[in-house]
C-alpha cells in the first residue's frame, strides 16, 4: 500500500506546517496505533522513497544536526500501552509512546521504578531510548543501555525485529537494544521496550555544600569518590550569576541507611566547605529540583562530557570562557563527568547576521578544543539551524566513524531515516 492508501485510511495525514525540525517541515504525519500499523507506514514510506523522522513527545526534536530531508514524521503518541508489568521479576514491557512519568505512576503501587530520571517531564520511553536521555541518578543506576533489556524496532523497510527479551540476564544474539540507544531515529523506529526495574527507595536524605569555585567543586567530588559512600546523585549547579555554586548529594534507600550516609557525607564535606544536611521539607524541595535542565528559554545550550576527575579543570575551561558568549546557568552530574550549560542569551537573541553570532560559534569551537585536551567532548544540544551548521552539533566522531556509517548503510541503505541528523553527518 502506498502513502495515498494510508492517507485514505487515516494512518497518514498532511502535516500542515506542524512539527518543523530545525526549520524543515514534514509533508506528512503518521500516528500508528500498533506496531503493525507502524510497519505499514514505514513500508509505504519505503515504496515512495520518503525521508522519515520519529517523534515521541517532541522534547528532543531539536537534538542533532538539521535533517537533510524530512517528508514524513512518525509520532508514537498512540503507542501508549504498558503491556506487562512483571512485578515479581522487576521487569516492564511497554510501547514506545508511553510517557516516562505515566510509567512511573503505573509502577509506583508495586513499590518499583524505572531508574531513569531525565529532566524532560513529558519524555516518552521511545524518545528516552532514541536520545539516550539520562538524569542525576545515572550515578547509581547507569543509563538507558544499562536498563534496557529488550526492544522491538521497525526498520526502514517496515521489518519488525526484536532483540533481547524479558529476562535481565540474556546473552542470546546480538544486543541490538544497545545499538538503538541514542541512535536518534537513524536506524529505525523504537516501537516497544522492555526495561529492568528497581525497588523505589523508601527514604532519601540530602546533603548540600556551598561551592566557591571549580577547585573546591573538584575537591568535594573527589572526597566523595574516595569514600565508601554510595550516593544516588551528586549534582552541581551554578546559576547565571556565576560562583558560588551548590553541590547537592542525594542518598536513597532505607531510613537508617540514608541517615547514616548523610551524616558521614556532611562530616566529609564539612572538611571542604560549608556543608549542611537538609531538613525534611528541604529534602523534598531539593529532590524536586534535582537535575532540572537550565536552558528552557536559552538561545543555545551545550552538553560537556569529560573524565569525572577532570571536573575542576573542565569547569575552569568552560565557565572561564563564559564572558565570551554571555554564560547562563550550569548544571552538572558532577561525579559522572556530565555538564549542561546554557547560553545567557534568550531565544531569538542570536540572529545569524549579528556580530555576536561568529563570536558565539568561535567560543563553542574553542571550548570544544579545550575539553578535547582533557579527553572530553562538547555537544551542542540546542541551537538555531544556522548555529548548528556553523559549529557541527556532535564534534569529531573518532576513528569508528567509518564503521558507524557502514552500520547505518546496512540498516538504512537508501538513507531515508533522519538523514544528516546524527554524528558525522549520518
Amino acid at each position: 500500500m502506498g502513502v495515498q492508501d494510508l492517507e485514505r485510511d487515516g494512518l497518514i495525514r498532511p502535516a500542515e506546517g506542524a512539527y518543523p525540525v530545525d526549520g524543515v517541515e514534514p509533508r506528512f504525519l503518521a500516528r500508528p496505533r500498533s506496531v503493525d500499523e507502524a510497519s505499514q507506514v514505514l513500508r509505504a514510506a519505503a515504496a515512495e522513497g520518503l525521508a522519515v523522522g520519529f517523534m515521541g513527545s517532541g522534547s528532543k526534536l531539536g537534538l542533532g544536526n538539521p535533517p537533510e530531508r524530512l517528508d514524513l514524521l512518525v509520532e508514537t503518541g498512540a503507542l501508549d500501552q504498558v503491556l506487562e508489568h512483571a512485578a515479581g521479576d522487576l521487569v516492564v514491557r511497554a510501547q514506545a509512546g508511553v510517557r516516562l512519568a505515566d510509567l512511573q505512576a503505573a509502577l509506583a503501587p508495586a513499590g518499583q521504578q524505572l531508574a531513569l530520571d531525565p529532566p524532560e517531564p513529558r519524555a516518552t520511553l521511545g524518545g528516552v531510548v532514541a536520545a539516550n536521555a539520562s538524569g542525576p541518578r545515572r550515578l547509581r543506576y547507569g543509563t538507558v543501555r544499562d536498563l534496557l533489556i529488550g526492544i522491538t524496532v521497525v526498520l526502514a523497510d517496515g521489518t519488525v525485529a526484536r532483540a533481547g527479551g524479558k529476562v535481565v540476564k540474556n546473552v542470546a544474539g546480538y544486543d541490538l537494544a544497545k545499538l538503538f540507544c541514542g541512535s536518534l531515529g537513524t536506524l529505525g523506529m523504537v516501537a516497544e521496550v522492555i526495561f529492568r526495574l528497581h525497588p523505589a527507595p523508601a527514604a532519601a536524605s540530602v546533603v548540600t555544600l556551598g561551592v566557591e569555585g571549580p577547585g573546591q567543586a573538584g575537591q568535594a567530588v573527589l572526597a566523595l569518590q574516595r569514600s565508601t559512600l554510595e550516593p544516588s546523585a551528586v549534582e552541581l549547579t551554578v546559576d547565571e550569576w556565576g560562583w558560588p555554586g551548590r553541590l547537592t548529594v542525594v542518598f536513597e534507600g532505607i531510613q537508617p541507611g540514608v541517615e547514616a550516609q548523610a551524616a558521614a557525607a556532611a562530616e566529609l564535606l564539612g572538611r571542604v566547605g560549608e556543608a549542611a544536611t537538609a531538613g525534611p521539607g528541604q529534602t523534598e524541595a531539593a529532590l524536586s529540583q534535582l537535575g532540572a535542565l537550565p536552558f528552557e528559554k536559552a538561545e543555545y545550550a551545550l552538553k560537556a562530557t569529560f573524565p569525572p576527575a577532570q571536573l575542576a579543570g573542565a569547569l575552569a575551561d568552560l565557565l572561564g570562557g563564559r564572558q565570551g558568549w554571555g554564560g547562563g546557568p550550569v548544571s552538572a552530574h558532577a561525579a559522572t563527568g556530565v555538564l549542561w550549560m546554557a547560553s545567557g542569551l534568550r531565544e531569538g537573541d542570536l540572529p545569524p547576521d549579528s556580530p555576536t553570532f561568529p563570536r558565539a560559534a568561535r567560543s563553542i569551537r574553542e571550548a570544544r578544543e579545550r575539553l578535547a585536551a582533557r579527553g572530553g567532548r562538547l555537544v551542542l544540544v540546542k541551537g538555531s539551524p544556522e548555529l548548528k551548521r556553523a559549529v557541527d552539533v556532535w564534534g569529531p566522531p573518532g576513528d569508528a566513524a567509518g564503521l558507524m556509517r557502514r552500520v547505518k548503510e546496512r540498516f538504512d541503505p537508501d538513507r531515508r531515516l533522519s538523514p544528516g541528523r546524527f554524528v558525522g553527518g549520518i
Binding site: 515479581g88 521479576d89 521487569v91 543501555r145 544499562d146 524496532v153 526498520l155 523497510d157 521489518t159 526484536r162 532483540a163 527479551g165 524479558k166 529476562v167 535481565v168 540476564k169 540474556n170 546473552v171 542470546a172 544474539g173 546480538y174 544486543d175 537494544a177 544497545k178 545499538l179 540507544c181 541514542g182 525497588p199 573527589l222 574516595r226 565508601t228 559512600l229 554510595e230 534507600g253 532505607i254 537508617p256 541507611g257 547514616a260 550516609q261 552538553k303 562530557t305 569529560f306 573524565p307 569525572p308 576527575a309 563527568g337 579527553g375 567532548r377 566522531p397 573518532g398 576513528d399 569508528a400 566513524a401 558507524m404 552500520v407 546496512r410 541503505p413 546524527f422 554524528v423 558525522g424
Partner: protein
C-alpha cells in the same frame, strides 16, 4: 595464498615462536571448555601486541582465511572452537595491565589478562572489578568481553557489558578502531557499537585493549548460607527477599545433588538432609546492610529455612562461595560425565520450571543437579550421565535441549552467560524470528561482510551480506559468477 606462504607471512609478524603449525601441537587447541566438540585448526598464532593481532588479521584477510579468537579457552559453549581451515588467534600472551587510573576508576588491560588479576591489581587501593564468573581465576578479560560474562554478583552489579567502557578492536579486515571513545568520558556521541560488540562472541572482530570500570569496595559485606527442605521453600525465600525491595549482591541456589557434589569436593558442611540451600550476600553501606541482613534472615526463616549459617569472617564467606563456584567441577565426582546448561527464566517461574526439569529427567532415567543464580533466574542444570552406557549421552543431550525449550516457553532465554557459541546455535531460531536474526545479521555484515571472524558460531545459517531480507535479490558476486548460494 597457500598454507606455507601464510605461515611465512605470520612468522614475519609474530616471529617463529608465535606460530604453531605442527599437528600434534595444534591438537592442544582443538576445543575450549566445552570438550564435546573438537576441531584442529590449520594454524595457531600467539600474538603479543595489538600490532601483531592487527597484522595477523590482515594476513588472514588477504589470504581469505577465517580466524577464531581465543582467550583462556574456558568458554562453555564452544565459542572458541577452531575452524579447520582457519587460524586460531590465541590472546593469552597479551597479559599486560596497561594503565590504572585511580581517580577515574578505570583499568586499561590487554585481552589476555585474567579476570581475577584485575581485582588483585587494584585491591590495595580499595577498588575491584565487579563481574565474577566462576572461572574468574583462569578466564580472560578478552573472553569475558566476547561472551558478556556474568557471575554471581551480576544481580546487583550487572554484566561485563555494564563494566566495559571502551575497546580497541581489530575489525575482520584489519582496520583498528576505538569503540566507546577513551572510556573515561561518558556518553560518547555516535552509535553504541561498544554495546553491540560486547557479547558478540568473537563474530565482529578481536579486541586488543579493554577499558574497565572499577568499583570502590563496599563498606560492608555480609553473607549467609540458609538450608531448606526443598527448592520450593528456597524459591519462596528468594521471592520474599526480592519482593521486600532488597537487591542483594547475590542470591545463589543449589539443590541436594549439587550440594552433595560440592560437599564431596570442598567440605562446606552443608546441613544433612537439606533439599536446597541459598547463599545470600548483601553489600553496601554498613547501616543499610546491617538492617537488610536482618530482614533477609527473617525472610529465610519465614520461608521455612531449617538452618541459617552466617559467615563469621572472610574465610567462611570464601568457603560458602567456594562450594558454589566449584559446583560444576565437583559434579565430576559424582558422575563420570555431565552436560552444563545455561537457561534463563523469569525468576518467578522457578518452582514450576524446576518441577518440569525433574519430571523430564525422571522420564529419561537421568539425574540433574541444579545450581543457579536464583536472583536473576539463570539456571545451570547439570545433566549427569555416563558416556560409557549405550544411549545415555544422546538422552542427556536431548534432556539438556528440552530444558532450554522449557525456558523459552516461560519467556526466557537459551543462554544467560555462557553464550550461544557452536553448541546452541541451532536453538537460536527458537528464541528469535527470521526477521530478528536477519536484523542482527545487518550488524555482522557492517563489521564483517565476508563472515571470516569466528564463522559458524551463534547464528545457524546467516545470509550472505549482499542479500537483503525480503524479496530475494541477486548478490552482485553471485551475478558475476563468483559465488554459489547454498
Amino acid at each position: 595464498m597457500d598454507r606455507q606462504a601464510l605461515i611465512r607471512r605470520l612468522e614475519e609478524i609474530v616471529g617463529p615462536q608465535g606460530v604453531i603449525s605442527e599437528r600434534n601441537q595444534l591438537r592442544t587447541y582443538e576445543c575450549d571448555g566445552l570438550a564435546n566438540f573438537r576441531v584442529i585448526p590449520s594454524l595457531v598464532v600467539l600474538p603479543e601486541t595489538a600490532d601483531q593481532v592487527q597484522g595477523t588479521v590482515k594476513a588472514c584477510h588477504d589470504a581469505g582465511v577465517p580466524f577464531v579468537a581465543r582467550g583462556s579457552g574456558t568458554g562453555l559453549s564452544g565459542g572458541a572452537l577452531p575452524v579447520s581451515d582457519g587460524v586460531l588467534i590465541v590472546l593469552a600472551r597479551m597479559r599486560r595491565v596497561l594503565d590504572v587510573d585511580l581517580e577515574n576508576r578505570r583499568a586499561v588491560v590487554e585481552p589476555g589478562v585474567l579476570n581475577l588479576q584485575v581485582t588483585k591489581e587494584v585491591a590495595p587501593e580499595g577498588l575491584y572489578y565487579a563481574p565474577d564468573p566462576s572461572s574468574q581465576q583462569v578466564c580472560s578479560i578478552g573472553g569475558n568481553v566476547a561472551e558478556n560474562s556474568g557471575g554471581a554478583h551480576c544481580l546487583k552489579y550487572g554484566f561485563t557489558t555494564n563494566h566495559v567502557t571502551a575497546l580497541e578492536v581489530v575489525l575482520p579486515d584489519g582496520e583498528l578502531v576505538h569503540l566507546g571513545g577513551d572510556g573515561r568520558s561518558p556518553d560518547p556521541p555516535g552509535y553504541d557499537l561498544l554495546g553491540a560488540f560486547v557479547g558478540s562472541e568473537g563474530t565482529l572482530g578481536i579486541t586488543t585493549t579493554v577499558t574497565l570500570r572499577l568499583l570502590r569496595k563496599p563498606e560492608a559485606v555480609r553473607t549467609l548460607l540458609a538450608a531448606f527442605e526443598s527448592t520450593d521453600h528456597a524459591g519462596d525465600a528468594v521471592s520474599r527477599i526480592i519482593g521486600a525491595g532488597i537487591v542483594p549482591a547475590a542470591i545463589e541456589m543449589m539443590d541436594a545433588l549439587a550440594m552433595e557434589a560440592a560437599e564431596a569436593a570442598v567440605h562446606v558442611h552443608y546441613p544433612e538432609g537439606a533439599g536446597a540451600c541459598l547463599v545470600v550476600e548483601l553489600d553496601g553501606p554498613a547501616a543499610e546492610v546491617a538492617h537488610q541482613f536482618e530482614e533477609v534472615e527473617r525472610h529465610c526463616q519465614e520461608a521455612g529455612s531449617t538452618t541459617i549459617q552466617i559467615a563469621e569472617d572472610d574465610d567462611q564467606r570464601a568457603l560458602f562461595w567456594k562450594g558454589r563456584k566449584s559446583a560444576f567441577a565437583a559434579v565430576g565426582r559424582i558422575s563420570p560425565d555431565y552436560y552444563v546448561q545455561d537457561g534463563v527464566i523469569p525468576r518467578t517461574a522457578l518452582p514450576e520450571v524446576l518441577r518440569k526439569i525433574n519430571q523430564m529427567a525422571d522420564e529419561r532415567g537421568l539425574r540433574v543437579a541444579n545450581v543457579f543464580h536464583a536472583g536473576d533466574g539463570n539456571l545451570h542444570p547439570l545433566v549427569l550421565y555416563d558416556g560409557s552406557v549405550e544411549g545415555q549421552e544422546e538422552r542427556a543431550e536431548e534432556l539438556a535441549a528440552e530444558i532450554l525449550f522449557t525456558c523459552l516457553e516461560h519467556g526466557g532465554s537459551i543462554t544467560g552467560e555462557h553464550g550461544v557459541g557452536f553448541d546452541k546455535k541451532q536453538y537460536l531460531p527458537r528464541q528469535f524470528s527470521a526477521e530478528d536474526l536477519d536484523t542482527m545479521q545487518l550488524v555482522r555484515c557492517a563489521f564483517d561482510p565476508d563472515g571470516r571472524s569466528n564463522p559458524g558460531k551463534v547464528f545457524p545459517t546467516p545470509r550472505l551480506c549482499g542479500e537483503r531480507p525480503g524479496p530475494r535479490r541477486v548478490h552482485p558476486v553471485e551475478q558475476a559468477g563468483l559465488a554459489e548460494v547454498f
